[in-house]
């Protein structure tokens, strides 16, 4: 275990993009987001809390997600994050940008 894949390992803004994407399927709390990313990436992406929470705060600050207190699956109080309309738009934009970026990198690597 341990903390791998701190933000500096990813392209800038990628963590936010991943968080936004993981919220598309529904509201999640912080731990849920970490788990979702871990499982969805076949255990490759393990996001540490020290990266996750600042990123979540940035998303809140920009108004891309909303946070609400609710009960978790095993009845703990947890804070659930939901995508806002602005968040969806941002996700689309960042996704396009990410595709462009990855495409560019691919191109460089294959020549």
């Amino acid at each position: 275990m341990g903390l791998t894949n701190t933000p500096s390992d990813l392209l800038p803004g990628t963590l936010e993009l991943l968080i936004l994407k993981s919220l598309v399927s529904g509201a999640k709390h912080g731990y849920g987001i970490v788990e979702h990313l871990r499982l969805a990436s076949d255990e490759v992406l393990r996001v540490g809390e020290s990266a996750l929470y600042p990123a979540l705060q940035r998303l809140l600050l920009n108004g891309w997600v909303k946070a609400e207190w609710g009960a978790s699956e095993n009845n703990r109080r947890a804070r659930y994050y939901t995508l806002t309309a602005a968040g969806r738009k941002q996700l689309a934009a960042e996704r396009a940008e990410f595709d462009r970026m990855v495409g560019a990198i691919q191109q460089v690597l294959t020549t």
Binding site: G32, E49, S50, Y53, Q57, L60, L61, N62, G63
Partner: protein, 883 residues
């Protein structure tokens, strides 16, 4: 934008947000623990592992929180709290610093609010920027009518007014208020609307208004005299003994077109004939008594307007007799209204604003010195902060924030002080017969000025400790504790401050000396009469409505009634009230058979009843006083004074000579007596040539509407005499309106301005001296304390106490000498600005400068004596052991 909004909301609800964050992270950990437990770990191990996986909650929370923070705001907020805590820890220092600044900023704000109210603030009316005043002085009503007739083509509106002193009493003693006759357009052009009823309108100019004679009053008068009654419109008000109907109340804050007066009652010009009756000046082309203001047309420059006005000048001034009317008519911008006070007070006010600014500088230097001493005393704390990683700029900011807090608190208290002291100062300007009223509202100008002062003080006071801080290095303070020796550069800043203080104080003391001596010389001027026992009552004869022809007999009846009151030694009448800055004069004088020719300065004139000179205490040199036999029909006689004889009849026997004055070349006045000199318009003019007529020979048609009853009463009985005379005057003539005063008050009124300047400058000089003394004491005491090891060493090596005292004084002497040299230079340069305010003073009088320097040296020696004495009594053994 939304981000900023989010940030601000976060700032306001920070503690709630922090709690949320902490709880959220803890929830995260708990969820992970649950997962570990599901994976088969024991509860305890799971808790442990989850905590380890999470790392530091505090750090994570901090990192997350930083996303929101506006770093600068947060750290300033933190500094503020540290600074406040620091100040609370040394309340003595805080109180002294805040009080000094409150006094300094308050005095500055007070003077500035007067300066601003009198000179800077635009009239509180619609678009004051387009108003223009017809220069220079007053005009006649026919001229105003000519201008009004041309208003549509020349201006965007025009109005005229005539400032008056109105009496609101219905019998006996007067109740004077400031008022004005105004043309109907005034309120409309200024855009001032009534808060009750209506304002005066052009329909009132005709005089045949449906309401009868109408008046509008100020809100102040409404509140004070009518207790803010809701039904004030329609009530009666007596003005100059004529009943008027109140038709409206002016809005609060509107004081009329004259700055410095509170115009409480405004009457239309059509009311003037009701009050002055036969002597109405409405039709007169020769009397100038009203002022004219216009609103310029938008888009038309003042140049064009002036040119258009001048094109019509020949018709406008037709019939005017004064030469001024033939100079080109000139309109000048009048956004700030009209004020006779402005030219009078501009220079002294400016001088006082500068003086009080200098006092603030001295005060700031003191506070800077205090802050510096405090910063040095806190070297240990500050160097620990540095060692713990605070940046130097952060420490500097902390010190500046401290001084800013002190300055802000000082400014807040100073504002309250200014409100009070400004009103007090304005009150001092009012005299027996003129009331100065100034709107001292704390408007944006005054507030901006105060805020600027506070910032400036904070910077001046805060920069010194920052400079002094240069010598602080991390961990350094722990090594040395008060082992400074001579030449320590840390004292350089404070010494420079003391030199500046001494220099500025010297300038202020020199100023105070000059103004005090000016006031003293004015007070010592010979008057030519003895004011002590003299009571005066100004009698207004116009109010009764009787024709001028009856006035001579009424005056005689009133005079006789007053003379019969017990305690009255004599009661006589003069036509002119002397010592009011002006009077009755003639520039055309002819002696013997010569035709009257132009003389400068003009000959002052007055008319008296028999016995006036004796009442006044003015000696009769030769010839005789007026007698009952000098009346209409007998030979016209006059009495002249010594200066008249010296000037017009040098070396000739004056008695029996003949004098002609003015354009009336037919009447030859025979000189029957010569009296001693006396002052006339103001004591500043000295003794002036004066000629007196008998009251009884005045042409009845032109008898004065007001005369001055002069009463010589036995000392100690003044109050009783005043009361009894008032009673008999009302009995003898129920319609007469009178105002009582003493001759001392008249004399005092001539030096109001000088007295105020002398008082203020003495106060400022004294304050600066005190502050400089305290500053000097502080720096010497501090130096002695810091050098006590060295002093102890010197004493241990055999220095006598007197040597130590000399050592300390040498240092003080250098500071004072440097300050004096700077101050002398400053004084010699600065006096040029106040020269016009001085009277009979040589502004660069070496004795004066030496005296001021001596005062400062004395203050310096006094301030240095205590610490020097203490140094000389140090026990070397103790000092060296402790050191």
């Amino acid at each position: 934008m939304t981000t900023l909004f989010h940030r601000l909301r976060h700032l306001l609800r920070r503690s709630r947000h922090d709690a949320d964050l902490r709880e959220e992270i803890e929830a995260h950990r708990a969820l992970r623990q649950d997962a570990f437990e599901r994976d088969g770990l024991s509860r305890e191990d799971a808790a442990h592992a989850s905590r380890r996986a999470l790392g530091s909650v505090a750090l994570a929370a901090d990192d997350a929180r930083d996303v929101w923070a506006m770093r600068a705001v947060e750290s300033v907020w933190q500094d503020l709290r540290i600074a406040l805590r620091g100040l609370r820890k040394s309340p003595g220092f805080a109180v002294v610093a805040i009080a000094t600044l409150a006094l300094g900023i308050g005095a500055n704000t007070a003077l500035f609010s007067i300066f601003s109210g009198l000179i800077l603030r635009p009239l509180p009316v619609r678009d004051p920027g387009s108003l223009a005043l017809l220069l220079n002085g007053t005009w006649s009503y026919p001229i105003w009518q000519e201008i009004r007739a041309r208003e549509p083509e020349l201006f965007d509106g025009a109005f005229a007014w005539s400032a008056q002193r109105f009496d609101l009493s219905s019998r006996g003693q007067t109740e004077p208020v400031d008022g004005a006759y105004v043309s109907g357009q005034l309120f409309d052009v200024l855009g001032v609307t009534a808060i009750r009823g209506r304002m005066i309108t052009p329909s009132d100019d005709g005089g045949a208004a449906t309401d009868g004679p109408v008046a509008v009053i100020s809100s102040r008068l409404w509140r004070q005299r009518f207790a803010g009654a809701g039904d004030v419109v329609g009530r009666r008000i007596t003005v100059q003994r004529v009943p008027f109907t109140i038709v409206g109340v002016m809005p609060p804050g509107f004081f009329g077109p004259d700055v410095g007066r509170m115009t409480d009652v405004m009457l239309p010009f059509s009311a003037e004939p009701l009050i002055r009756r036969q002597e109405s000046r409405l039709a007169s082309k020769s009397s100038a008594w009203l002022q004219i203001m216009v609103r310029q047309r938008p888009g038309r420059g003042l140049e064009q307007t002036n040119a258009a006005l001048r094109a019509a000048q020949p018709q406008i001034i037709e019939g005017a007799t004064w030469s001024r009317a033939r100079e080109p008519l000139t309109l000048a911008p009048a956004a700030t209204g009209n004020s006779s006070l402005r030219s009078r007070f501009e220079t002294p006010l400016f001088a006082m604003v500068v003086a009080v600014g200098l006092v603030l500088l001295v005060a700031c230097a003191n506070i800077a010195s205090l802050f510096l001493a405090r910063a040095l005393a806190r070297r240990r704390e500050l160097s620990v902060r540095l060692a713990l990683g605070a940046s130097r700029s952060r420490i500097a900011r902390l010190l500046l924030i401290e001084s800013l807090i002190v300055a802000a608190l000082g400014a807040a208290i100073g504002l309250a002080f200014a409100k009070w002291s400004g009103a007090l100062l304005v009150q001092q300007l009012s005299t027996w017969q003129t009331t100065v009223s100034l709107d001292l509202a704390l408007d944006w100008r005054v507030l901006a000025f105060t805020a600027a002062l506070a910032c400036l003080s904070a910077i001046i006071a805060g920069v010194a400790p920052v400079l002094g801080l240069k010598s602080v290095a991390p961990g350094d303070a722990i090594k040395d504790a008060g082992r400074g020796i001579a030449g320590d550069r840390r004292f350089a800043v404070r010494s420079a401050l003391v030199v500046a203080q001494v220099a500025v104080s010297l300038v202020l003391v020199v100023g105070a000396g000059l103004f005090l001596r000016t006031f003293a010389s004015l007070n010592q001027l010979p008057l030519g009469f003895v004011p002590g026992p003299l009571l005066v009552a100004e009698l207004n004869l116009q109010a009764s409505g009787g024709p001028p022809e009856e006035r001579g007999a009424r005056v005689e009846r009133l005079r006789a009634a007053a003379a019969a009151v017990p305690g009255v030694r004599s009661a006589t009448v003069a036509a002119e009230r002397i010592l009011n800055g002006g009077g009755w004069s003639s520039g055309l004088v002819g002696i013997g058979d010569a035709q009257p020719s132009l003389r400068r300065p003009a000959l002052w004139l007055n008319a008296t009843t028999p016995g006036w000179f004796e009442t006044m205490g003015t000696p009769l040199r030769i010839g005789r006083d007026f007698q009952d036999g000098d009346r209409l029909g007998s030979v016209p006689v006059v009495i002249v004074n010594d200066t008249f004889v010296r000037r017009f009849l040098p070396g000739e026997p004056p008695i029996g000579q003949h004098v002609r004055i003015g354009r009336d070349t037919a009447t030859r006045y025979e000189i029957v007596g010569v009296v001693g000199d006396a002052v006339y318009a103001t004591p500043r003019d000295g003794m002036v040539a004066t000629m007196y007529f008998p009251v009884a020979q005045q042409q009845p048609k032109t008898f004065w509407p007001t005369v001055l009853l002069t009463i010589n009463a036995a000392p100690g009985q003044r109050a009783a005499v005043e009361r009894d005379v008032m009673r008999v005057l009302t009995e003898a003539d129920p319609t007469v309106a009178f105002t009582f005063g003493t001759f001392d008050q008249l004399v005092e009124a001539t030096v109001t301005q000088e007295r105020l300047i002398a008082m203020l400058s003495a106060f400022f000089g004294g304050l600066a001296l005190l502050l400089a003394g305290v500053g000097l004491y502080g720096v010497v005491a501090h130096a002695v304390r810091a050098r006590q090891t060295e002093i102890g060493l010197r004493m241990a090596l055999g220095a006598a106490p007197s040597n130590i005292v000399r050592l300390v004084f040498q240092r003080v002497g250098v500071l004072i000498a440097a300050g004096l040299a700077l101050g002398l230079g400053g004084s010699l340069w600065a006096v040029r600005f106040v020269e016009t305010l001085l009277f009979q003073q040589e502004p660069r009088d070496p004795m004066m400068l030496a005296g001021a320097a001596a005062v400062l040296v004395a203050a310096g020696v006094l301030a240095a004596w205590m610490p020097a004495w203490r140094a000389a009594r140090l026990d070397p053994a103790t000092v060296l052991r402790e050191g």
